[in-house]
Symmetry: C2
Subunit: 227 residues, 2 copies
């Protein structure tokens, strides 16, 4: 469902050329669950942003459901991002002027659900991540882990086919982290394609295979078929 | 060196009263290394903000080096915060218009070092957290873990007596996290008082004792004298 070929991502900072992704080739079959691990600064978030169509590669091809993403215009790309892909950002990216329910509802705007249905769905998602008691709080009135959970709930609002999670349990205690992982596993059971960056080897083992990134290259891929 | 008695912190949100810290009593001897653990939303960051004089309790006493903090005026409080306490925020709180070295230098402003000495110290700190190759990057050009490391370096700039760390390794891979923990242990060896919030039981075991927080109260304190 997702395939990247000879991907390079380089930043140009004045006189300095900084290659961050160097010749990455990866295939993510439909319904697969892949973890991505690697040292801080190795290019994991950069890779995920490319997969989520939030950024474009400097070189290489990105095939999303067999369509070359670089040939799509902005509207088509935007439609794909909003209906097919759910993204959980490493730094949450919540809107500070919207409360928990309103933040979760943001992607639903594209589905043209009625206000009542939209609110009902947002409440259901908030409860599924343990925030049933925080509907009206604003991001600055939430703990770090609560912000992370709002980001997770929001990523699921459109019932996307592909979920890209950038360290979804980084700010959560062990128990809450396990509940979120359980939620993600259920989505995998439903047939969704999951690509999850994590620093926690225990969490990576819940996936079907782990891609190990180092200095912008795939060092090795470890198959382990989940638990 | 740090003592809190009968501390309460309550938020007043319209008609709703939300008690977040309920009757917390804790003592942190000089030179001690304490970990704080607890579920997401249990009050850890709120407690740390109180300890760092970034917030005031709703009720209760906070004695910092035997002085009642509530009797200090804003200037005295500000002087303490900038010279005696180093704070690592859960969400980093970097200044987006300043690059890595400039962010680390911010607390040095209060020490009136010359521009050259200030820059030399910032470079040394950046290297100590593995960012010797990122001096001129801005926060939006850094990975999550790199941002976290800038926050750590900045907290050490003033060589503070007390270090308050809110999940200092949450965005770091295992190896980088261990390097940072090693750095923190060295500071402890130098006689600093360390209070560190963490979700990782492995990391907590590197401290001398772990305070377990639940629903805004100290559930238990576990002594384990570090490794
Ligand atoms: N300004 C505020 N107004 C209202 N409620 C708040 C405010 N700030 C925090 N809270 C609430 O206080 C509780 C404790 O927050 P705190 O940030 O201390 O939790 P935490 O233990 O650090 O959690 P985490 O592990 O997720 O970082 C949370 O449930 C949060 O919703
Ligand atoms: N806009 C940018 N300009 C220049 N360099 C950048 C930019 N964005 C990221 N980088 C650099 O690219 C490298 C990879 O960043 P990335 O965020 O992908 O790392 P990561 O693997 O997600 O790390 P972490 O585990 O710390 O989150 C980093 O070393 C970072 O400094
Ligand atoms: Mg990252
Ligand atoms: Mg917190």
């Amino acid at each position: 469902i997702v395939r990247i070929q000879d991907i390079r991502k380089t930043y140009f900072l004045g006189p300095v050329t900084l290659p961050v992704l160097k010749d990455v080739n990866l295939s993510f079959p439909e319904g697969s669950f892949t973890a991505i691990m690697g040292p801080s600064g190795s290019g994991k978030s950069t890779l995920l942003n490319l997969l989520g169509c939030l950024d474009r590669p400097t070189e290489g091809k990105y095939l999303l459901e067999d369509v070359d993403v670089s040939t799509m215009d902005d509207d088509a790309l935007s439609a794909i991002r909003n209906t097919r892909i759910g993204f959980i950002f490493q730094s949450f990216n919540l809107i500070s002027s919207l409360n928990v329910l309103e933040n979760i509802e943001v992607p639903l705007f594209y589905q043209h659900l009625g206000k009542q249905e939209s609110r009902r769905r947002a409440k259901e998602l908030a409860k599924s991540v343990g925030l049933g008691h925080r509907f009206n709080h604003y991001p600055n009135e939430l703990s770090g882990g609560e912000c992370q959970r709002v980001a997770i709930a929001r990523s699921l609002a459109n019932n996307p086919a592909i979920i890209l999670a950038d360290e979804p349990t980084g700010n959560l205690d062990t128990k809450t982290g396990e509940e979120i992982l359980h939620l993600i596993e259920n989505l995998h059971q439903e047939g969704k394609t999951i690509i999850m960056v994590t620093h926690d080897p225990e969490i990576a083992l819940e996936s079907e295979r782990t891609v190990h990134l180092r200095d912008g290259e795939v060092e090795r891929i470890e198959e382990h078929k989940g638990r």
